[in-house]
Symmetry: C2
Subunit: 189 residues, 2 copies
């Protein structure tokens, strides 16, 4: 099941079988049912997750009990409450399965050992972190500059499969638009 992880890593750094065995030793694989929580707000965050199959949603519930969607994560994506994970503080977001999901789990201790033991992996994680930083900078820019219609169209263009897999109510929340607005844009695109 970790073959997907190997393919994913080898897009950036090639690995020998021995190196991949070393990498694998730091991961555990978990299967979760739809609606299960991998991270719960207020609790500690054990892992950063690589999605082997399925779909996750990173959400924050505000004081009024309103749900805000920070991110979706599907196959080949990494997700966690990164602030809580890296600083070993309590989660301010929850990570929930929107489908039956299989993940490869890496603890902070495992992450540090992997980086120290295999410089290639430190290089791999640097590339992924820079990619994540870029994606976040782009999303901030889209909040500042784009109207709802443009944000929908950008998302549809970049991740068409999200529109097939994520309930429209959740997509609308992620984009910061009403369910009705999303449907109108969706029909006209």
């Amino acid at each position: 099941m970790l073959e997907k992880l190997r393919e994913h890593i080898e897009k950036i750094v090639p690995l020998t079988d021995g190196e991949f065995a070393f990498v694998s030793d730091h991961f555990t694989v978990q299967q979760h049912k739809k609606r299960a929580f991998l991270i719960e707000e207020g609790k500690s965050v054990k892992y950063t997750y690589f999605v082997i199959s399925g779909l996750l949603m990173l959400v924050h519930n505000d004081d009024q009990g309103k749900q805000h969607i920070a991110a979706f994560a599907m196959e080949d994506w990494w997700e966690s409450d990164f602030l809580a994970f890296y600083t070993q503080t309590k989660a301010t977001m929850s990570l929930q399965c929107l489908e039956d999901t299989e993940v490869a789990c890496l603890s902070l201790e495992g992450y540090d050992k992997l980086c120290a033991g295999l410089p290639k992996m430190e290089h791999f994680f640097l590339k992924k972190a820079n990619g994540g930083h870029i994606a976040s900078q782009q999303r901030i820019l889209s909040f500042l500059t784009s109207n709802a219609k443009d944000r929908c169209e950008q998302l549809l263009k970049r991740y068409p499969s999200l529109f097939q897999r994520v309930p429209k109510t959740l997509l609308a929340s992620y984009l910061g638009v009403s369910r009705e607005t999303l449907s109108r844009i969706w029909r006209s695109s």
Copy 2:
């Protein structure tokens, strides 16, 4: 002038004098006057910048000519149009000096050579990239969950000196509020 850079790096990884000499070789130092542009939209992005002294603003101008502020950067911060820098594409944002500013400049070639030649620096950049990713995730969350007043108060608490140094009109734009709203919150806090 690169002593500040050394102190900054040594908060994460200690360096010998020889190692720091190697690091220094990859940077150039530039002085810029207030209002000068380090990056211009539509042009290529040569460097990622470490701020030795002064203050920068990362902005995007939309099709209607409206200015959106993605970030401020002051002493000890790194800033660039990271998408354009890492992928060597044209800038979609500009980076402008709000004060006379001194920066240490690192090219992508220099960045790659530094990481390959000194694993400690790859480790340093990974820590910084993870920190940047966390900060972006927090800012996205603040857009989703906070009202203008909360965003102002968070910023004031975290970076009080920004309120002294950045013109209120620009702070209001960064926070996505009107100049009047910001003044009202500012007076009452």
